[in-house]
């Protein structure tokens, strides 16, 4: 899919394709600022269409596109014709006609980028769609993990929280399993059910079993805006049973790092001590956002 004009999901990427993105991201990080790098996408116009709030993803896509010399337009959804009731596809076709060649789309519904890819001629990069996928987040997480703990073969990566409503978790499952990792899911039953059958994935019954000997731990955001808490009783109960803290991390592999896609809910998914402590890779995740998105943009446009 990547290199073929779109990045809609990571589920069809092979290990070799994933590693190519990560290797290229490392190259991009080094090359950022060089004249070659800054001319790579000078013929491209990248349109950012974010129908949902975003800081990290939108800003890093914008910086990535600019670092490659692309012209960047940001469709300010609230201030655009979307507010006048224009349909998604009409808006995207308008962007295409104005000259956008590559579309970076975030949308609140699962599958919206597939519609964009089918019904327009633009290269489409999925920047997060509903509960379905967040490909570039999973790729930057894989890069962050690889750089922190080495190759992922046989390593146990624990993912804790609301897997069911999480596009980050879905995309991470595919990337981590493709890279040879074992994924262990932990969370309230309503948040992990349905994933038992995924190849390479196991579901743990409690926080202890989830973290035991884990080589790295990924905390998911509790998505209060998707009103997902109703299914599990209460937020208080989640914190009591599942919140990551230093004591619970004792059973994980020594120095096992912690990732979180952000933004965190203070004190809900993990303690502030963990989020800001020695195990935390949260800052590294954000830093890796730009080079990974540079690599993705270069690949979907055929520039790399």
């Amino acid at each position: 899919m990547i290199g073929g004009g779109h990045l809609l999901d990571v589920d069809t990427l092979s290990r070799a394709e994933i590693e190519r993105v990560l290797d290229l991201a490392v190259e991009m990080r080094a090359a950022r600022g060089t004249p070659t790098c800054r001319s790579l996408l000078e013929a491209e116009t990248v349109g950012l269409a974010f129908y949902e709030a975003s800081t990290r993803t939108r800003v890093s896509f914008e910086l990535a596109a600019k670092a490659l010399g692309a012209t960047v337009v940001d469709l300010h959804v609230a201030g655009s014709s979307v507010g006048k009731g224009e349909s998604l596809i009409d808006t995207l076709r308008t962007l295409e006609r104005t000259g956008v060649t590559t579309l970076v789309l975030r949308h609140e519904t699962s599958g919206a980028p597939y519609l964009a890819a089918r019904c327009t001629g633009m290269a489409v990069v999925n920047a997060g769609d509903g509960m379905h996928a967040h490909p570039t987040q999973a790729l930057l997480d894989a890069l962050t993990l690889r750089e922190a703990i080495g190759p992922l073969d046989g390593r146990v990566i624990a993912i804790v929280g609301d897997v069911a409503h999480s596009r980050v978790a879905r995309s991470n499952l595919h990337v981590l399993v493709s890279c040879g990792a074992r994924v262990r899911l932990g969370g309230p039953a309503a948040w992990v059910s349905g994933f038992e059958g995924y190849p390479g994935v196991e579901v743990a019954a409690n926080i202890h079993d989830t973290l035991a000997d884990a080589d790295a731990v990924m905390a998911l955001r509790v998505q209060l805006e998707r009103s997902a808490v109703g299914a599990i009783g209460s937020l208080h109960e989640y914190v009591a049973r599942w919140r990551l803290d230093e004591a619970r991390m004792e059973v994980a592999a020594p120095n096992a790092p912690i990732l979180h896609p952000g933004p965190t809910n203070a004190g809900v998914e993990l303690t502030g001590e963990l989020a800001n402590g020695r195990r935390s890779l949260i800052g590294r995740q954000v830093e890796n956002g730009v080079p990974v998105r540079m690599a993705v943009l270069a690949l979907v446009t055929g520039a790399a």
Partner: protein, 451 residues
């Protein structure tokens, strides 16, 4: 494709002789190759035809009683951008249907005898018979019973709040009690609205993979069980439409064994398509591989959004078995046209429904070719089975007003948007090659379609 012609119920009656056609008549239990003669609209003995009557070669073709669709959305009034009585009945005729039952989720819904009469009037010169299903509740709002007896007198063949179930048990019981007195079925869209809130496809591995909120089978079963209990108490006839789960089918089987007056239908798309189609599969249920994966070029296609949602492979095969063993009385299309702009949207925002009148026979024939259904059962489920539920007759015996379809079961056609008679094109079958082409549809002795 040869030239196509449509007719109207107001056309003059037809006279012709079709030679050597295989006549499958479920009412007679017969299946023979013979000549089929129609004189001034009536089936007759070929010896009585005048010399010079038009002769048609029926070699290789199958003649069956006209099909009857218990569940059609003609969208008139209020949704004429998607379909009209004229376009919808032409689609019906092209699919071999001679009767369609217009569902009442129109704007406004038919909830009074006068509105019902008006709709029946509007269908007088259509391309097939238009029967009308009245709204159970006033404004289809689920609050108070409409004038069911009055609408039955005006010609309603049944009552439904389709699009939703009758929401409360007491209202459903009152409706069934009332309908017991006028011998009309309550046609129930069995679905608990609170259990399906927000869902857009069948719960299961594909929904989990695609990150789409899942529709639980309990939503159907809970209303089916409620209504069966109410039908048993009240004596009113219950007809469950578009059943989509094996669990609900088992409940129907049990109820019938106890003598509860319950019938049911299934749509072609719940028999043959599966939830994997939302991920881009285009395999019929009986051909579906173990892991379909996600086919990016077709995944999340709004044309696969339908309610109840496309079912699991296991449930589709159970529904096919239920049709084969007679638990399911009828195939009904739930033909639900929508304008393009309501389907070229993200999957979750797509209007639910797909057109079905022009493909029902083809899907059935695909199941026959796959050995999942026998031809006589298919024809029964499309013609006599549904007709009996609305007290229509179907027979190919001499003396009857001709009401029949003739189709070529082996001819194949690629389904193209341009060729459809419906005003809408929302079906995921576009581009697929399907078996079965209708050559002639005759309703009330008039030619409604010919190709």
């Amino acid at each position: 494709m040869s030239e196509e012609r449509f007719g109207r119920l107001t056309d003059p009656p037809v006279t012709f002789l079709m030679t050597g056609v295989r006549v499958v008549d479920p009412g007679e239990g017969s299946n023979t190759i013979r000549d089929l003669a129609v004189l001034n609209g009536f089936l007759t003995d070929s010896a009585t035809l005048p010399p010079g009557a038009e002769q048609l070669d029926g070699t290789g073709l199958i003649a069956a009683p006209g099909f009857c669709d218990l569940h059609t959305h003609l969208r008139e009034p209020g949704g004429e951008d998607a379909e009209t009585i004229a376009s919808g009945t032409r689609a019906a005729a092209r699919g071999g249907f001679t009767t369609v039952c217009a569902m009442p989720n129109t704007d406004p819904p038919p909830d009074t005898p006068i509105q019902l009469t008006r709709l029946l009037e509007a269908g007088r010169d259509a391309a097939c018979r238009v029967r009308v299903v009245g709204s159970v509740t006033i404004g289809r709002a689920g609050q108070a019973l409409a004038d069911l007896a009055g609408m039955a007198d005006a010609g309603a063949v049944g009552f439904s709040d389709d699009g939703a179930a009758v929401p409360s048990p007491d209202l459903a019981r009152a409706a069934l009690s009332c309908l017991a007195g006028v011998n009309r079925p309550l046609i129930e869209h069995a679905e608990d609205s609170s259990l399906v809130a927000g869902s857009v496809m069948r719960a299961g591995p594909t929904a989990v993979r695609l990150g789409l909120a899942g529709w639980p089978p309990s939503a159907e079963l809970s209303v089916v069980e409620r209504d069966i209990a109410l039908a048993a108490e009240s004596g009113g006839r219950l007809h469950l439409t578009h059943l989509s789960t094996a669990a609900a089918l088992e409940a129907v089987q049990d109820a019938r064994a106890r003598g509860v007056p319950v019938t049911c239908d299934v749509t072609p798309h719940h028999l043959a398509l599966t939830d994997a189609w939302v991920a881009g599969s285009r395999h019929f249920a009986w051909d579906e591989p173990a892991d379909v994966g996600v086919i990016a070029a077709r995944a999340f296609d709004g044309s696969c959004r339908v309610n109840p949602p496309l079912t699991s492979r296991e449930d589709a095969l159970a529904l096919l078995a239920g049709l084969a063993d007679g638990t399911i009385d009828a195939i009904a299309t739930d033909h639900a046209p929508h304008p393009r702009e309501r389907k070229i949207v993200p999957f979750e925002e797509a209007a639910p429904g797909m057109i079905g009148l022009e493909t029902a026979l083809s899907i059935g024939l695909a199941a026959v070719e796959a050995g999942r259904l026998d031809l006589a059962t298919l024809i029964h489920a499309l013609s006599l089975g549904p007709a009996q539920i609305i007290a229509e007759r179907r027979s190919l015996a001499p003396g009857q007003l001709a009401d029949l379809v003739v189709f070529d079961p082996l001819a194949r056609r690629r389904l193209e948007a341009e060729g459809l008679a419906s005003a809408s094109v929302n079906t995921p079958l576009l581009g697929m090659e399907l078996p079965g082409v209708v050559r002639l549809t005759v309703a009330d002795g008039r030619v409604m379609y010919r190709s």
